[in-house]
């Protein structure tokens, strides 16, 4: 009887440890996303999908859009992105230095940017509008001024992307 009690107690302790581990966000996310096997944060500009000519909104599969972004101290690149409303938008984001987080003000969408891993999530913005994207994870001295912008425009105002085109607010 004592033995059963001991085993049960140890199981509970084990479960508590495992659930704690599960609820810690950064580390598991980083591992699930292939942490360390993703693009090298120091060499994003040399090769791979995060070279500067490949950033911004691109044509994705099945009439969706793929937006690639880099978060770095203390600016999001591209700083301003434009997407159509009501279309699924896949964000692919990585960090060039430390952990950052995009949070789209006015929505409940958010995305962590981790060095050495690519975070991917698909959001659909129902209404047109301008959303500020402040950094939501303390990243250094300029953290509070790190802010991007997302312009959601009505679908008919968003000229369809040419193949190979990457769009930011500058090239709207």
């Amino acid at each position: 009887m004592k033995k059963i009690g001991f085993v049960a107690a140890m199981t509970l302790v084990g479960l508590a440890i495992l659930s704690t581990r599960y609820y810690m966000v950064d580390l598991p996310v980083w591992h699930f996303l292939g942490g360390g096997k993703g693009p090298d944060p120091r060499a994003l500009h040399l090769q791979g999908e995060f070279v500067e000519s490949n950033l911004g909104a691109a044509e994705g599969p099945a009439r969706s859009l793929t937006v690639r972004m880099i978060a770095q101290q203390f600016v999001f690149v591209p700083q301003c992105i434009v997407v159509p409303a009501g279309v699924p938008i896949t964000f692919r984001i990585t960090s060039a230095d430390v952990v950052h987080m995009l949070s789209f003000l006015g929505t409940n969408y958010g995305l962590k940017a981790l060095p050495g891993a690519v975070t991917e999530a698909t959001f659909t913005f129902a209404k047109a509008g301008e959303f500020k994207i402040p950094c939501h994870e303390f990243c250094g001295a300029g953290h509070y001024a790190m802010r991007g912008q997302l312009d959601v425009v009505p679908r008919d105002q968003f000229a369809s992307l040419l193949p190979g085109e990457r769009r930011t607010c500058d090239l709207r």
């Binding site: 500067e52 490949n54 770095q72 600016v75 001295a141 509070y144 190979g164």
Partner: protein
């Protein structure tokens, strides 16, 4: 007898071979067309801003610089950048107290043509990666304290002192609404980011010119579009204000006064 039995086999073999060749050719054609079409469609041409990446190897090369060799090499730089690393022309950058990594990166970018300058590109070709590291070590050692006997142009007079409040606000707080981080969060003294030079003893004209070049796309060698994104947000007046403020020796820095 032998010929009679082998002839049809040969024919069958030839037919199979022919079919295979045709199928192979079709496959190659289709694959070739498919892959070329894909590369044309989905991927824009890759633009690399700078060949320098802050890997361990790069940091090892830069930190192995020899300041004494740098002192000898610096004779070639003295004419424009000054005997003590302070230029007598405010449009040329001061190099005294320059951060090693940013100095080395700019030299590499001049050599590879990633940063455009009619003067410096030709000069930098004469310096190897090792020589640049030596120069970086030398200039990092030079003191930034003022010297009244020198011909330096450094503390310049602010043309319009009323811009000072705007400048110090941008330097210390940035502008969060527009996504402009404070200058001092990367260029010091609050914190430094690799490749960002300290600005406290830099010439105003040079800074303004570089901000202008970053925002109009003439200078594109900043890694991951960092400085270009920020300079694009600044108005012309803000660029002038910040540059003049630093150029007047008022900017926050370790040894600025």
């Amino acid at each position: 007898m032998i010929y009679a039995s082998q002839a049809p086999r040969l024919q069958i073999g030839a037919r199979w071979l022919g079919t295979l060749v045709v199928l192979f050719a079709i496959t190659v054609l289709l694959l070739g067309r498919g892959s070329s079409a894909q590369s044309e469609n989905s991927e824009p041409p890759v633009r690399v801003p700078s060949n320098v990446a802050w890997t361990e190897e790069t940091l090892a090369i830069v930190s192995s610089g020899d300041a004494f060799r740098g002192l000898l090499l610096a004779r070639r730089c003295n004419h424009c950048h000054g005997e003590e690393g302070f230029s007598s022309v405010p449009a040329f950058p001061n190099l005294a107290g320059e951060d090693r990594l940013s100095f080395w990166k700019q030299m590499q970018d001049f050599r590879s043509g990633k940063r455009t300058s009619p003067v410096m590109q030709g000069i930098a070709e004469g310096f190897s990666a090792r020589a640049s590291a030596d120069l970086a070590a030398y200039y990092a050692m030079l003191p930034t304290a003022s010297d009244p006997q020198d011909t330096r142009a450094f503390p310049q007079v602010m043309q319009d002192p009323s811009r000072a409040s705007r400048a110090i606000h941008l330097i210390i707080f940035g502008d969060g609404q527009r996504g402009i981080p404070p200058c001092q969060s990367c260029h010091g003294p609050v914190s430094y980011v690799k490749g960002a030079p300290p600005l406290a003893t830099q010439n105003g004209n040079y800074l303004e010119q570089q901000l202008e070049h970053f925002s109009n796309g003439y200078r594109t060698n900043d890694i991951n579009v960092g400085m270009r994104s920020i300079a694009r947000q600044l108005t012309a007046e803000e660029k002038t204000a910040v540059s003049e403020y630093y150029g007047a020796g008022l900017g926050p820095g370790v040894n600025s006064r």
